[in-house]
């Protein structure tokens, strides 16, 4: 059952089954990933149809050649590059980039795996609808990868992760067979939920080639405010207040620590609209039904929040442009982080009531380890924090190379002890395989391995991602 490397000779065996356009040289972007931790190997194939994907998988299965699916390449955990072991076929879905259908009366869109998120959003908008998945990499990330990693983003609090926006998938199995599962149904209990099994499996159980996606009617009015809060605990109280008043109309609730604004100023990427820079602030977005004025609603939230001590200061966007500018500040924080360069980044989630105690606990534990700076920000409504650790200003992060493993373990141990996850929205990829082994429930891991062996008995699909290659 030994895997065989993808070679030019193997690709040649496919020339009678695939058009010439499917054969392309792998580019640098197919072999690297944004954080620079992994460098991939392999030979590229870029099919333009589901049938071509199936033909490739059948050939790979027969020759025992592994396959790594490749979408926009924006993943942050190395799931898109096979860095060790046998050179795979890099299966780019980028040429499968058609929006096959938009059904506005059903609030459904059918898009191929290679459709870029921003294009899916635009196709929905042209039909008067909203595809409510939104994240920093939406200009490059593609539908297939977004589903394979169950991507999150800034509107999860209202609309859920990518999983919640998918009604059906078309997928190719490790044996090269096509599952025609592009259901546009909102209720279907005919058999096991294999759609959700594939979603989030990071290309290790099957290759998603297209999906039926859920659209919504856009809210009648949208308002945005940046509110300074005394503490993360107050931010959570404010969230409860907002949801009590407006329910799921609370569609964005992003926590930002002061370090985020410090980093924006340090890198010249932006400045806090509140002075002095608040220790903690939240970016609140309301998407309200007809008849309610978002500005007035946010003003009321500000006033009532102030009375109760949950809000200390704030700025309400008076126009769409101002709202976009507030979001833009929030979206630039990851870029500021990249420019400064983290010692260790942590994509964690916690039960909501564990967040307030976790933050000072983790900061104190890190302080005992070394002179670090922490930029803690994220999707508070989902309990999802990006808790990223940096060297002090003027100190190169390389000075802390020896401590990186210890920093990560310290943060992850504290998260795990509070019932949290160390792989909240970015997935496991290759970066967190050992973390999953360390923190994952052993019975769940055993079930995962059994499912993997059942659906991909030769271990062809993205070997080494999520689960250690056997």
């Amino acid at each position: 059952m030994t895997l065989q490397p993808a070679t030019p000779a193997f690709l040649d065996t496919l020339r009678d089954r695939l058009p010439a356009a499917a054969f392309r040289e792998a580019e640098e972007r197919h072999l690297t990933e944004p954080r620079g931790r992994f460098r991939g190997t392999g030979l590229l194939l870029a099919p333009s149809s589901t049938e071509e994907v199936a033909a490739i998988l059948r050939a790979c299965a027969a020759a025992r050649v592994p396959v790594v699916p490749h979408g926009g390449g924006t993943g942050l955990v190395g799931g898109q590059v096979v860095a060790e072991g046998i050179a795979p076929v890099i299966l780019s879905l980028a040429r499968m980039d058609r929006v096959r259908a938009v059904h506005p009366s059903e609030n459904v869109m059918v898009a191929e795996a290679g459709v870029i998120l921003a294009e899916a959003q635009a196709a929905a908008a042209r039909a008067g609808r909203l595809f409510p998945l939104s994240l920093a990499s939406e200009g490059s990330a593609r539908i297939g990868g977004l589903l394979a990693t169950n991507a999150g983003g800034t509107q999860v609090i209202r609309y859920g992760n990518a999983r919640a926006l998918c009604l059906g998938v078309e997928a190719v199995t490790a044996q090269g067979e096509i599952w025609h599962g592009l259901s546009r149904l909102r209720k279907d209990n005919a058999g096991y939920d294999l759609r959700d099994l594939l979603i989030g499996s990071e290309g290790t159980l099957g290759i998603i080639t297209a999906a039926a996606l859920r659209l919504v009617q856009p809210p009648a009015g949208v308002g945005v405010a940046l509110l300074a809060v005394p503490s993360p605990a107050a931010a959570l109280d404010l969230l409860g207040l907002a949801q009590g008043r407006f329910g799921d109309a609370v569609q964005g609730f992003e926590l930002m620590g002061r370090m985020g604004f410090d980093f924006l100023e340090e890198t010249g990427l932006g400045a806090s609209p509140l002075a002095p820079r608040p220790d903690w602030s939240v970016l609140v977005e309301l998407g309200l039904p007809e008849g309610l004025d978002p500005q007035a609603a946010l003003e009321r939230l500000f006033e009532e929040g102030s009375e109760r001590g949950f809000v200390a200061d704030g700025v309400l966007a008076a126009s769409e442009a101002q709202a976009a500018a507030l979001w833009d500040l929030r979206e630039r924080i990851p870029e500021a982080n990249r420019r400064i360069g983290s010692v260790s980044s942590h994509d964690i989630s916690l039960p909501l009531s564990e967040i307030a105690p976790f933050i000072p606990e983790a900061e104190a534990a890190l302080a005992a380890l070394g002179p670090f700076r922490v930029n803690c920000f994220g999707h508070l409504g989902d309990g999802n924090l990006h808790f990223n650790v940096f060297a002090r200003r003027g100190v190169d992060r390389a000075a802390h190379d020896a401590l990186r493993g210890r920093v990560k373990e310290l943060v992850h141990d504290l998260v795990h002890a509070r019932g949290g996850s160390v792989a909240a929205e970015h997935g496991v990829g290759r970066l967190k395989v050992a973390d999953l082994e360390r923190y994952g429930d052993p019975v769940k891991l055993q079930m995962m391995r059994a499912v993997k062996a059942a659906l991909d008995p030769q271990g062809l699909l993205n070997p080494g991602a999520v689960l250690r290659a056997s």
Copy 2:
């Protein structure tokens, strides 16, 4: 690998591992199901803890004795009774009926499998929260069964199926191991989504013993109206209009054909508040944020719907009692159906844009087959219809016994041809195993069998449900 029947001698081997209270006589309700199509066999065990469930499963695995989990016994497709083959252990979860925790600040509740839905709703309400799963059998159905069947109901349009309300599960495997997966996290991409694999698998892949459930803050105001519409197509136009105005605040949208009111009057269970009885009507419920008056919102919807020709008549509930009375009428339709006795009932779903053409098509095809009455009603917003076929008034349904199979096949074939599902919210159970084989995607079925064999290699768990016992 032959299975062995559950015998008193086998149960005796468990007496040193289980307290005496776990040994009970099976009652009639453990051996029957509401539609009377299947009669079960087996011996009852009623554990009161997850550890006891695990001990039973370990013993069953060692002795190759099959197990059928039993919750409230309200399932409509025979998933809860093993009617053929080897007598199983009937594993009642009814004694595991504790709400383990309510976390209002997190909008989370942890409940054991045996908690009755109405009690879960009440526990949430006591904490000022809503557990938004609501269906006719909520006074008997239990959390474990609701999750095992991914139950639907009347608020799916806003809050999703049972699946969407579950953050984590604790479950016991076919080998008798405990998966501690009671995550209270809203984002967790640490590994495969086995939670959703177990949800909807009808007890064939593992036994859910407890779940972390999603709560919401109740909407500030709720309004209900019964609106007569000229046609199902107009009802869908009205749905689009309502969602454009109020988004996900549209939390109920039930279609009712005139036959529903005819049946209520025929059985003495109720009467149409609109005269003459409308051919088609919809029960609309809005759950609005603070600042919007539900009455006024429904009046506006009525007026604008009337102007556009989507609404012909209507009654708006002026009080909570009136709202409850309208819902009560809707909820009595299944009881009226039962009293009249259907020739064949169909729990189907369709892409929304297929509903309007499907209904007259199916009615015409049935009329060609015989003199039937059709009661078509259901959760229009989800594309989920209960399309139930009855004999004409005064004719015993037994007169059509010979046609039953043909009626079902006719309806299901038309549903399938339009991309619909013949197992929308009730599941597959034993009733629809052959339907799944007939209409299911063959590659998906193959993957399902592989997953079943991987997680339950001896075929112990609810043999014959969902998939034919091998």
